[in-house]
Amino acid sequence: MAPETSVMTGNEAAATAARLARVQVIAAYPITPQSPVVEQLAAWVESGELPAEFVAVESEHSAMTVCIGAATVGARTFTATSANGLAYMFEQVWWAPGARLPIVMCIANRAMAAPWNVLNDQQDSMSVRDAGWVQLYCRNNQEILDTTVQAYLIAEKLHLPVMVCYDGFLLSHTMMPVSVPDAEQIDGFLPPFTDPWTIVDPGDPRNIGPVTLADPRNDTEGVAAPGYMEIRALHHRALLEALAVIPAVDSAYHDAVGRSWGGLVWEHLLEDADVVLVAAGSLAMQLTLTAEALREEGIKVGVLGIRAYRPFPIEALRERLVGRSVALVFDKALSYGYEGPICSDLRGCLLGVEGAPPVFGAVCGLGGRDVSLEQLADAARGAVADAAAGMRTRETDWINLHLEG
């Protein structure tokens, strides 16, 4: 069978990817806007199209716990959630990477309550960026499908869980054409997961997840075993290794399926750009239109899209930003009392680098607030003017905010 293109939502694209990856255990609890992902998977399990175990659980905490248990014995696992569901899962969100389990979780990005709001921003996944998962952000539904499949290969190569993040409603509920690879293409790209260290064998009993004290010490068999800090250093090293593995997997996917997404970062009209607009997710895709419109006004604008937010692609960002006049970062999240997370990270990675541009931050789209192309263009024009006036730093710009009246 050849690949077929169908018009589908982002949630359908995520579910289709999980099916193509031949996941064996799915555990999930419904939450808007993620629910249609696991509804679709449940329907395929019910019809027999997807020979997997679907475990209906009573909470997101339990959903991740089931994935942890299943991944520990070597199953390929999948879950998906959003916002408060992710928050409710928080304890196990840390356990999965600490235990080095290759779980893939889709996040249909949604605003955190309170106040209640089911609409899009990226505060949920940004709030768990430090937990030790690989985090990938998608710009359209095709990228959701392709990235979710790629996530399994990344996860299984590095023994790290991967979060595939996509904007709730804007992608999760918007239909667009998606080319669905055929099963053979994906089977060639993603072989079955067979890792001897994660298979529980009664003939070779192991103590999984024992208390690990501060210092290295001998285990029960007298073999020197790492302490907590060594285990964490190895975990961190695996995340850094992902900086090479993510592009390599994207490239292998291109060989198998014919599409790739830039690996760690992607760019649009960047080569000769003075002004660089930076964002992650569908907003970055919309920024490509802003860049094109501003070029018609004679402003040399390009877009730098962040696909991998963790690990943070320091070198890829530095080499694309040195020599520019200004970088303007659009965050759909905020570290309350400071600024947008991507903005902080980008400024930090450019600090002290010769020829680095000033980095300005803008916060937008919180709780589903619409961001028009004109507002994005206005923000870019403002950053250009401020940089031309010699500003090296400035307060975060809030786009389309109406506090007065």
């Binding site: 804007l170 667009m176 569908s282 192309l373």
Partner: protein, 184 residues
């Protein structure tokens, strides 16, 4: 690019209409199609909107449609209640589910009004669910006739993809009847 905004009441199936149209438009040759509901909590009977864009290139804009070329009104009371024509581009097309003639609607002079008795079409095809004639797919026949942007073949293929068996057949029949009774 063609920007389309749907106006319906919660439960009428405007979101289904928008989805099936996106599929039909892709089948009719548009490389770029998006359809999205207005985001938020819907209630049965409340005015709702949905947005569809059709283009020759893949689409990169995800905002709701605010300056439509075409609006499709599943309940004619929404022309007043929801100010459905707000923001419409000059020369735009208003497709209304109504047994009335287009001339009976007093809208902006620069808009073209097309009507189709979609409820009648659904009833004629016996497309009744829970005692209510279903208009969500039948309206696509009126859309195909009024705009020429999608072919009836692609509308029928998209309906057959979204529904199965006798449900698909009834929905296709209703769309055909609505196509035939569309008046400009």
């Amino acid at each position: 690019m063609h920007e389309i905004r749907w106006h319906g009441r919660g439960g009428q199936g405007a979101v289904t209409s928008a989805k099936v149209l996106a599929d039909a438009a892709f089948r009719s040759g548009f490389a770029g199609v998006t359809s999205q509901p207005s985001f938020g909590a819907e209630r049965r009977g409340a005015p709702i909107t949905a947005s569809t864009r059709l283009a020759d290139e893949p689409l990169r804009v995800l905002s709701q449609v605010s300056e439509p070329d075409i609006i499709v009104v599943l309940d004619e009371s929404l022309l007043d209640v929801a100010n459905a024509t707000a923001g419409m581009k000059a020369g735009g097309t208003v497709i209304v589910n109504s047994p009335k003639a287009p001339s009976e609607f007093a809208l902006r002079d620069d808009l073209r009004v097309v009507t189709s008795d979609v409820i009648g079409a659904a009833e004629a095809a016996n497309l009744i669910v829970g005692g209510q004639p279903m208009v969500s797919t039948a309206i696509l026949g009126a859309f195909a006739r009024a705009t020429g942007l999608v072919t009836m073949e692609s509308v029928e293929a998209a309906i057959a993809h979204a529904f199965h068996g006798s449900a698909a057949a009834k929905n296709i029949e209703a769309a055909r009847i609505a196509f035939d009774c569309t008046r400009a």
